[in-house]
Every structure is written in C-alpha cells, then in structure tokens.
C-alpha cells in the first residue's frame, strides 16, 4: 500500500506541477497576474472536445487550433484589459478574475457537464508497476511534466525572451533600460501561460471529465503551488508540487478524503504567514511585509 500510495503521490505531484506551470510562467516568473488561468484550462478542454465531437476535426489539428486559440486569447486579454490596469495588483486580479468568472459561468450555462465530456486518452493500456495498476495516461503525464519543467527552466535561464520574463518581474524600469519592451514581454507571458494551460488540459482531462468547476480547482491548486514554491522560481514549483502532491495523497489514504483540501490550504496559509515569498522565492522579499 505504501509503494502504491507513493507512486500515486508521485503522479499527483506531476499533475499539480503540470497544472501550475503555466500559471507560474505568467504570475510566478513574469509577475503578471492572470487569474483567468483556470478558465483558459477549461476553455481549451471544451474547445478540443467540441472540435473532436461536433466538428470532427482530426485530433492533432484540433489540439493545435486549441493551443493557438488560447495563445491568441491570452494576448488579446493582455492588450485590451491587463494593459490598462498594469501595475495595480488588485485591479489586475479583479479584472482577470472577472474574465475567468465570465468564461466559466458561460460554460456552466451551456450545461456541458457529464461523463461524455472528456478527452480521449492517448493509449488505452495500463501497466503493473511494483504491484500497482498504473495506466498509460498517468505515465505520460509524469514524463511530459518532467520535460515541460526542464524545458521551462531552460527557457527562463538560457533564452533572451525567458530572461526578459524574469527581468520584468524583478524590476520593470531596469528591464526597460536594457531594451526589453515590457508590454510585449508581458503579452507573451500571458499567452505562453494560456498555451501551456491548453497542453495541461490535453494531458490531465482524460483522467476525469470536463466541468466548469475544474477551472476554480485548477486556479486554487496552481496558486497553492506558486505561493508555496515561491515567486520567480522553477525549482520552487517542483518542490511545492512534491509537498502538496504527497501531502494530499497521504492524507487521502491515511486520514480521509475530507482532509485533502484542508492540507493544501493549510500549507499555503502557513507559508504565507511565515515566508510570503515562498520557500524558494528570492524576489520581492523586501516588499512582502513591514
């Protein structure tokens, strides 16, 4: 049982990291608050579902269109909404949360809820690892999540756009003096985050079904991972996913499923109270408290 729980905790970690990575790219690394992230996730999921089941578009093409649509939507939201309230953290949060609310509630209005609203798994097989059944999809998540996080780390440390992402979070004015167009970079960070949300939906949704409520869940989990890990840190995302992922799975098995959410929320609360910039956060330590 312990081995099985550990294995599933590991997979849970990968799922959390995958959910959080796009949000982290936008909010954690480049400091642009995009609280419509959960809505992007659900939007992409319904988009792919609709293209597959209503329009009968081939799978790969549908995925491509959904990712591009998300990227475009992210850019548009930045250009027309976020740009006007940039720098006022609360207005950014309220505006993007309002957008997210509108998108998610629109889908609940359509009433697309049920088991048929799900995406196909990549391969319908399962394996037995150390006496535990694991299906192919979960293994794929594990692999993809690892690849994506290493890719993100490489992207934010070794490409000029990635460095610019970190630059505008650390000091926007200094970034400007280095010739970084902060509006353009912020646009990119929102749209990349939205694109990654689409990919995350593609991998994670086949495990369950699409529901508008997922959007809020994803947002809270991404926020949890981001806060615990610390803003501006890719390593923090990994560490925080491990902490929350293992804590959730082990409380679920040994204490009771009622307590899973409490554990992750309590973890956020504790980290926020003691070290608001997160376990690995280096930015803004001076601004977080007085």
């Amino acid at each position: 049982m312990l081995v099985g729980t550990t294995l599933y905790a590991l997979i849970n970690t990968a799922i959390l990291a995958l959910m959080a990575i796009g949000f982290n790219l936008t909010f954690g690394i480049s400091g642009v608050a995009n609280f419509a992230y959960g809505a992007f996730y659900v939007f992409a999921a319904y988009g792919i579902w609709g293209m597959l089941n209503l329009l009968h578009i081939p799978y790969l093409l549908a995925v491509l269109i959904a990712v591009l649509a998300n990227v475009l939507m992210g850019a548009l939201i930045y250009r027309f909404v976020l740009l006007r309230v940039r720098g006022q953290a609360l207005s950014e949060v309220i505006a993007t949360f309002g957008i997210g609310l509108a998108i998610l509630e629109l889908f609940s209005y359509f009433g697309w809820v049920g088991f048929e609203y799900t995406l196909p798994v990549f391969m319908d097989r399962s394996f037995i690892i150390a006496g535990t059944y694991v299906d192919f999809q979960r293994l794929a998540i594990l692999v993809f999540s690892t690849v994506l996080i290493s890719g993100l780390w490489w992207f934010t440390h070794h490409t000029s756009i990635g460095l610019a992402f970190r630059g505008i979070a650390q000091d926007e004015r200094t970034a400007l003096t280095f010739g970084i167009d902060s509006d353009w970079i912020a646009t990119l960070s929102v749209s990349f985050g939205a694109g990654v949300a689409a990919l995350a939906a593609l991998f994670i949704i086949p495990l369950g079904s699409i529901a508008p409520g997922e959007g809020y869940d994803v947002l809270i989990k991404a926020l949890a991972v981001c806060i615990i890990g610390g803003l501006g840190s890719t390593g923090g995302v990994i560490a925080a996913s491990f902490i929350v992922g293992f804590a959730e799975r082990f409380t679920d098995t040994y204490i009771g499923s009622h307590w899973t959410m409490i554990v992750s929320l309590a973890a956020i609360l504790l980290v926020l109270t003691i070290k608001p910039s997160g376990l690995f956060g280096k930015q803004k330590e001076l601004e977080e408290r007085i």
């Binding site: 608050a33 027309f80 909404v81 006007r84 309230v85 953290a89 609360l90 207005s91 949060v93 309220i94 505006a95 949360f97 309002g98 957008i99 997210g100 609310l101 509108a102 998108i103 509630e105 629109l106 609940s108 209005y109 809270i220 926020l223 806060i227 009771g256 009622h258 307590w259 959410m261 409490i262 929320l265 309590a266 956020i268 609360l269 926020l272 109270t273 608001p276 601004e287 977080e288 408290r289 007085i290």
Partner: protein
C-alpha cells in the same frame, strides 16, 4: 488646435464651503442634499416596495455593509478578498448562541458582532505584517479552509448546518434594524475616517513606513481597523442568520467575498458612500437579471471587467465630480 478638458469648481461649491452657506436656501440645500437624500431613501424604501423587493432590500443592505467593511480595510491598506470570513464567523457565533444556549436575537446579534469582530481580528493578527497581495491571498484562503474544516469535523451541524433559529419579531423590525445600522455605520465611519484618527488609518495605506517614522504603532491601528471591519461583517452574518433562521456552510461562500468587492469597485472605492451606492446598483441589477439564469454571473463578470478598465474611479466619484465641478474644453497653450 489641441484642446484639453478643464475642470473648475462650481460657484455654489466655493460659496457654500464657507459660512455664507447660511445665507441662502439654495446653498444650504446644495450642502444638505447629498447627506439627507440617502437617509430619506433608506427610510422610505421599505414602505414603498412590495414584499419581494423588501427581501432584496435586505440583501442590498447586507452587501452595502460588507462593502463598507471592505472599504474601511482597504483604506487602511489591507485589501481583503474574504469578507465571507467576517460574515461567516458572525453567522456561526449568533447561530451557536441561539441554537445551543437559547439566547434571544436581541442578545445574540450584538454579542456576535463584537465577538465575531474579535475572533476575526485574532485570526488575522499573525498576518498583519503582510502587505499587498499577500494579505489578500490569506484572506481569500481562510474562509475556504473554514468551510472544509466544518465539513470534515462535522462541528456545528457539519454540512447540514444549524436550523430553527429564533426569527426576528417582524418584517418591519428586520428592515428598519438593518437600514438604521447601515445609516449609522455609513455616516459614523465616514466621520471617523475624516477625523485625525482616520488620517492615521489612511496614512498607513498611503505610506506605512512614514507612519512608523512618526512614532505610531501601525499594527495596533491596523488591528483596530480590522476589528471595525470584522464587527460590521459579523453583524451582517448574525443578522442574516436570524432572517434565514439557518446557519450553515454557505455563509462562507465566495459570493459574500466577491459581491462586496464588486460593489465597492463599481461604486467607487475610497469613500464609504461609494461602496453603499455600488451595492444599491449591483444587487437589484443582479435580481433583475435573474431571468437570465446562469448568464447572470457571466454578465456580472463582464460588468466587473468593464468597470475596472473603463471607469476605475467608480460611479460615485464620477457623480461627485459632476456635482461639484463643471468641465469645459479649452485650447492648450502653446
């Protein structure tokens, strides 16, 4: 030919800001209208509306009070995303006192307001040092966690909640109690924020470090502001417990956090009157949109975004400006 908009105070504003106001009825009316009009509206509305809209009026007043409580905190530099915490704690306080100990609403509502304010202050005391968005996130999470704790430990009735509370004596008592409290809170705290004491609170928002420099203990002031806001929120919770005759997990719902913020944003943050005004617009509007079903919340979200982007100062400030100033286009000097 470039033009710019020039804003100039109306003559009547200039004249009536002095002792000369006493010289003409028109100027006295100009001064008194903004103050007396809300009182007349609040006291006459319960008589004019039909029973259904009287119920709506109750939730308008509750949202207005929560928005005022949000605004007091925001003016002290603490942006809360969890008014539901105050509301819920107050609701459970009075619910428990009424359900287990059988105290009458006359006692439970005032005690729950004070006790709830105190509990919320104590809960948030460890995070008073946090600034900006970090404080907001803590306040967002605490109500969520309290709901889950109630669900998991099954205290106070668990998911079922506690029902069978003593109702308030009559519909009119409910309506006039909440209207009276709304007016007292609105004018009382507005006056408080204009006093020297309020200046300190606003100073904390503007620049906390320089307030510390002045030798003022900002944590003590922040705790007091938290207590005021908490007590107002807890009053709403305690009041609604007796109106619905029920207290349960919904009291920590996100609605009680989002609606007051939306009201304050639409009405205009920074003046308590703006927050109240916002509630008087938003809640009836959302009631009128009830026919749209689920689309209501969609429109709500869109509305919020439009206001934040297009009219960030809020409706109240806009009206206030029109009332006190006139505008004209003038040529830009070369």
């Amino acid at each position: 030919m470039k033009k710019r908009k020039e804003r100039i105070d109306r003559g009547i504003k200039v004249r009536s800001s002095d002792i000369f106001a006493l010289l003409s009825w028109r100027e006295m009316l100009y001064l008194a209208t903004p103050r007396i009009l809300p009182v007349i509206v609040c006291l006459s509305l319960p008589l004019l509306l039909d029973p259904y809209w009287q119920k709506v009026l109750l939730s308008v007043a509750v949202v207005a009070l929560l928005a005022i409580s949000w605004d007091i905190l925001a003016q002290t530099g603490m942006v809360s995303l969890g008014q539901a915490l105050f509301f819920g704690v107050g609701a459970y306080c009075s619910g428990v006192m009424n359900h287990y100990w059988g105290l009458s609403p006359v006692l439970t509502i005032p005690i729950a307001s004070l006790l709830g304010g105190l509990i919320c202050t104590l809960m948030l005391l460890p995070v008073l040092r946090l600034r900006g968005i970090y404080f907001s996130m803590v306040t967002l999470i605490i109500p969520l966690i309290l709901v889950r704790i109630v669900e998991a430990t099954k205290i106070f009735g668990g998911t079922e909640g506690l029902s069978g509370m003593t109702p308030l004596p009559s519909k009119w008592f409910e309506l006039y109690l909440i209207m009276a409290v709304l007016l007292v809170v609105l004018f009382g705290f507005r006056r408080m924020l204009d006093s020297d004491y309020g200046l300190v609170l606003k100073g904390i928002n503007d620049n906390d470090r320089s307030v510390i420099n002045a030798g003022i203990n900002i944590y003590w002031f922040k705790a007091q502001s938290l207590f005021f806001a908490g007590a107002i929120g807890a009053f709403c919770g305690a009041f609604m417990t007796h109106v619905y005759m029920f207290v349960g997990m919904p009291v920590f719902a996100l609605d009680y956090s989002i609606l007051p913020i939306a009201a304050a944003v639409v009405g205009g943050p920074g003046t308590l009157a703006g927050a109240t005004f916002g509630a008087f617009i938003l809640v009836p509007m959302s009631e009128a949109l009830r026919g749209f079903g689920g689309l209501r919340i969609v429109l709500y979200g869109v509305f919020l975004v439009v206001f934040i982007v297009a009219l960030p100062e809020g409706i109240f400030h806009y009206i206030q400006r029109k009332y006190h100033q006139f505008e004209r286009w003038v040529e830009v000097d070369k």
